[in-house]
Amino acid sequence: MSNIVDVPVGPQHPALKEPLNITCYVDGEQVVGAKLRIGYNHRGIEKAGEYQTFIQNLYIAERICGICGIVHAFDLAQATEHIIGKEIPRRADYLRTIGLELNRIHSHLLWLGVAAHEIGFDTLFMYVWRDREVVMDVIEDFTGNRVTYALVTIGGVRRDLPQEKAEKMLRVMDALEETVKKYKEMCLNEKTIRMRCDGVGVLRKEDAIALCAVGPTIRASGVPFDIRADDPHAAYDEIPFKVVTYDTCDVTARILVRIDETLESINIVREAIKKMPSGPIRARLPRAVPVGEGVGRTEAPRGEVIHYVRSNGTDRPFRWKVRAPTLANLLSIPVMLTSKGDYVVYIADVPITFASIDPCLSCTDRAVKFVDVSSGKSWVWTFSQIKRMYWKDKPCWRERP
């Protein structure tokens, strides 16, 4: 007779860097089902954004996620420029592309280290993070900060890339390419990695499409879906690059997709520096945004990010909505963690399977559903209820100007 036990993982767990709760239903060593509970990271950014101007919102947008911060700032700026309907200088597009790609390199290397840590291969974790510091130095040199860049602004960028910094960047890219190729070799041939990752966390192609997975998760299932190629923005229309896909659908495929993308990103940075035109880096756009709706989308390191902004003619957005890639990818976690027929999931594979989508919960937790834990009752609060609750002590609930 089978005896199914619930094993809760999180919200504080050594394998998770962010608060999230996965309840695994376990029969012996096998995982037969999984349930996710998110929302520990919900801060209410979209609401706070309605009380700040568009320029101030860039600051908070960058802090939606610290790893892919520039992506959110870029998307919000793109959506705002979409409403205003003016072109920005071409050089700014190229500088944004360089920022986005440096961000992707740093994020993918970070993930490779975390993945190595999850399978207990701490040597690789330490090596990768040592080499990642080189990219962080380049980013700091270019934007003035290591993690939150504050590079993008509405109408362009805030910092130019002088010739000598560009040359230094190219030299670092050459050295980095060698290192990343070495890691690719290591991941292809190292027996410990292959034994832990081959055939683990399988997400079949049809499941990936049905569950609307995005980014490296769907590309590792053999679907060439990349917003940079499908809907070119910034300077991606002038820079040739390859959309990397693998079709083994498992964790190994996701590792290799990310390593190959890092190599592609290095090439994109090189191309962008080579082709970058001279000229102004910022257009002056009006502070009050005309009435309308705008959408900004781009390929974050984890997948497609969409920002929707609606303006009512003032300098503050009427509504700002963010859809982060992890929210789309989380749906595939229960599928990956469910044993079915020949496919068996063991408890030891849970951390690496979960980490393989590169979860970023600070991006994801955009909505809350209130649950009374003792009675299990759940409800949704209306705006007026929240307003009544927080009216007195929170200045953000003051009437809008």
């Binding site: 504080q12 050594p14 802090r63 939606i64 610290g66 993070w129 510091e133 953000c396």
Partner: protein
Amino acid sequence: MGLVDWARLRSPWVLHFNTGACNGCDIEVVAALTPRYDVERFGIRLVGSPRHADILIVTGPVTKQVEKRLKRVYEQMPEPKFVMAVGNCCASSGAFRNCYNVYPGLDNVIPVDVYVMGCPPKPEAIINGVVKLLEKLKKLKGGAS
């Protein structure tokens, strides 16, 4: 200085808890543990269980959802325990002040020993915070906090 104090001073183990951070501080905390900055030279190690930890490193604004878990983790740590608030949002909710779901600072929920400011603080700043905390530890007599 007793044997216990001596041992604690030379290998304080830390537990990292994310209370709703944007990940910026988290990656800098991890960067401080990796070869370029390497806080392991002070005997500092990241551990997985609150029961093994001496120092709780908290990053991010404290959201209402995570408050209960944070208190439970804090209570599970053995005495004497120390808390380090890393980042502006942990100290004073920073960029997320006025958000409806966050507390205006970690010290509204649990007592804090060291604040490290910055958005996010550089790994050097985090190491500086750790060293300050070790000095505080040194002044303690008989392990009472």
